[in-house]
């Protein structure tokens, strides 16, 4: 079937591919796979940060997960954060992108203004939002009062603390998603929109039936990178709430950090990291299965 020169060409192509992958793989092996392998190994042991004594535990660390209420809570918090933040941030970004995909005056200014939060260090951003959320004198509550809405305790209340962090995440990351979506919007041939407009299709229906299907590959892409960016929540939790109040904002990444670095319990932290890996991996697979097959590739 594949013989002679054709086979040689295949081999050459594969060889080139491995050559191109080699630089990445070397560094991934050293700084990602090796830690992951060690993490799997650690998860079967009692390993303590700072100590060279290691004891075999078998599956005990994994059994601990079952009875560790805080683990389940942090898993639920992580899921809640991810499932709320990503759709909201993307919806927000999409609306912004659609609004900014025009030749209106001052568009570049708007773009910068919506994009800049991406560049603020998480630490500083977290601190600022602690102030913005302050129940008494914080501007957010002032604004709520202005519209006659009830004031909230935000970060001080276990019911609203996570919401507060989610709102801040949307502020911080919509701009980034917006820029990517904007690039995709610019590639939609304008005649499609014009045709639909002539047919009397409303703006909303144009968005739903034309824009979104056409940029679906990019949307899909943004969902994936949104999933990956949801790791950033660690920074906010670390700065703003340290997981509190009453563990309402304790998410898996933070819990891993706590176990590994504060409690020195490397074995358990590794176990948690492995679980998180499976969790995110599963989520990405899910997204890939649900959306990946349905996306329309422009002109193909």
């Amino acid at each position: 079937m594949v013989t002679g020169p054709a086979l040689r060409a295949h081999v050459r192509e594969a060889g080139l591919a491995y050559l191109l992958l080699a630089p990445s793989l070397v560094f991934l092996a050293a700084f990602t796979y090796w830690p992951i392998i060690r993490s799997v190994w650690f998860s079967f042991h009692d390993v303590m940060l700072g100590s060279d004594k290691i004891f075999f535990l078998g599956l005990e660390n994994y059994q601990r997960l079952w009875t560790d209420a805080l683990f389940w809570k942090s898993l639920a918090n992580t899921a809640f954060y991810t499932l709320v933040t990503i759709p909201s941030a993307i919806a927000c970004a999409l609306l912004l992108a659609v609004a900014l995909d025009s030749k209106l005056r001052g568009m570049t200014f708007y773009r910068s203004a919506f994009f800049y939060p991406v560049m603020i260090p998480s630490v500083a951003a977290g601190m600022v939002w602690v102030f913005l959320y302050a129940p008494g004198y914080g501007p957010i509550n002032h604004a709520l009062a202005l519209f006659g809405l009830p004031k909230l305790e935000w970060l001080y209340d276990s019911n609203t603390a996570m919401i507060a962090i989610i709102i801040m995440s949307i502020w911080k990351y919509s701009g980034y998603f917006m820029l990517i979506l904007l690039a995709a919007l610019q590639m939609i041939p304008s005649d499609l929109h014009e045709a639909a407009r002539l047919d009397g299709v409303s703006a909303w229906n144009r968005l739903i039936h034309i824009t979104i299907p056409l940029i679906s590959p990019t949307l899909y892409f943004v969902i994936i990178i949104g999933l990956l960016h949801s790791y950033q929540i660690f920074d906010y939790v670390y700065v703003m709430t340290q997981g509190g109040p009453a563990d309402a904002t304790n998410v898996l990444t933070f819990y891993i950090y706590q176990n590994g670095f504060q409690y020195q319990d490397i074995g358990y932290a590794s176990t948690l990291a492995n679980v998180l890996l499976l969790f995110v991996g599963g989520l990405i697979t899910l997204v890939a299965l649900v959306f990946g097959r349905r996306v329309h590739y422009l002109g193909r």
């Binding site: 079937m1 020169p5 054709a6 060409a9």
Partner: protein, 361 residues
């Protein structure tokens, strides 16, 4: 001298064959058109010639040199793509110069000269500093052709280059291409799905279907003497009507029997034994007459259609339908009964089972 020879060139993807042993010789300065419906393997064949696809089996010779497995840039060819494939980030000039810079060590002055010359021929001198997105479709087309021209390759390959243009521009560009071919003496292999384009452009046309070469020949040859029913119906618009008939030998000739008529064909046929055949009649080979005059057969006019100075009439004859071409003034009324006569010297006979043409000896 530039001659391209395909010897049993085949292609399979993951074991599934898509092109079956194409044998084709393209002579120097010939304008060879590969035509066929979409998915027939014509583009794949062209891409194999270009070196963009591996040739799974067979040989490819350009100027007698075996280039079956040569890298594309070593084949001394240039190609114009359907979407033009102009580099969006380069000016028209850069687009044209890029290949020269990569493959040749030509001095800058020579490159300039070649591009200037090509631009003049193509009337794009004023566009050279523009980027593709500032060019219209026709202009992009010219730049794409210019990019091929400046390479001065042995063979030009065109992959449906006109299909993205509007009808008027397409006709114009067709003329341009013809002019270029003649003036510059190019050797061209040209892929299209449009038979009119094929007929007007090609010095010879190769028709492909389902990965097999059906027939190669000069356009009129194909038109007049299609090798099989596929070619017969593919070439010509409106297409040739095929009437199912029975063939009976009769003396020096044969009798073609149709439920509505019998007719005699003079001279010997490739096949003498009786059996089912298809009678191929082109619209212009049918003469319509008023019902009262004598005719070969009779039918009912189903539909008429004006096309400029002529009219087409669709006529029902029992279960068969056939198209006839008539002067506008003589176009029959719909529903009318008409008499039909065929130009029996020109009609073709096909084996009903294999679709192959029965040669008249």
């Amino acid at each position: 001298m530039a001659e391209v020879v395909l010897q049993g060139v085949s292609k399979s993807y993951q074991g599934r064959p898509t092109v079956h042993g194409v044998d084709l010789a393209v002579a120097d300065r010939e304008f060879m058109v590969l035509v066929g419906p979409s998915g027939c393997g014509k583009s794949t064949t062209l891409r194999m010639v270009a070196g963009l696809e591996e040739i799974t089996a067979g040989r490819l010779l350009i100027d007698g040199r075996d280039v079956t497995h040569a890298e594309p840039q070593k084949r001394d060819i240039a190609m114009v793509f359907q979407s033009y494939a102009l580099y969006p980030h380069m000016t028209a000039y850069r687009n044209m110069a890029f290949g020269l810079l990569k493959t040749s060590k030509l001095p800058k002055a020579e490159i300039d000269r070649r591009i200037g010359e090509a631009a003049e021929i193509l009337h794009i001198t004023h566009l050279l500093e523009r980027k593709p997105n500032a060019l219209s479709g026709g202009e992009r087309q010219r730049v794409a052709i210019g990019r091929a021209l400046v390479r001065q390759p042995k063979v030009f390959l065109f992959d449906e280059p006109l299909s993205n243009l509007d009808a008027k521009l397409r006709t114009h560009m067709r003329g341009e291409l013809k002019r270029l071919h003649k003036e510059l003496g190019l050797t061209v292999i040209y892929v299209t799905h449009d038979q009119i384009e094929a007929m007007t452009l090609g010095t010879r046309v190769a028709i492909l279907s389902e990965g097999r070469l059906q027939q190669v020949g000069a356009p009129m040859d194909l038109y007049m003497r299609p090798a099989n029913t596929f070619v017969a119906t593919f070439i010509g618009s409106p297409e040739m009507s095929l009437l199912r008939c029975a063939l009976r030998p009769n003396g020096a000739g044969s009798v073609v029997h149709h439920p509505r008529f019998d007719t005699h064909i003079p001279g010997a046929l490739e096949r003498a034994e009786p059996g089912d055949i298809l009678l191929g009649v082109r619209p212009e080979e049918v003469t319509l007459s008023p019902p009262e005059t004598p005719a070969m057969a009779r039918g009912t006019v189903e539909r008429t259609e004006l096309i400029g100075s002529e009219a087409l009439a669709e006529i029902r004859m029992g279960d068969d339908r056939l198209m006839a071409r008539t002067p506008v003034m003589q176009a029959p009324d719909v529903g009318a009964e008409v008499g039909l006569s065929f130009d029996m010297a020109r009609v073709r006979l096909f084996d009903a089972a294999t679709g192959r043409a029965l040669a008249r000896l």
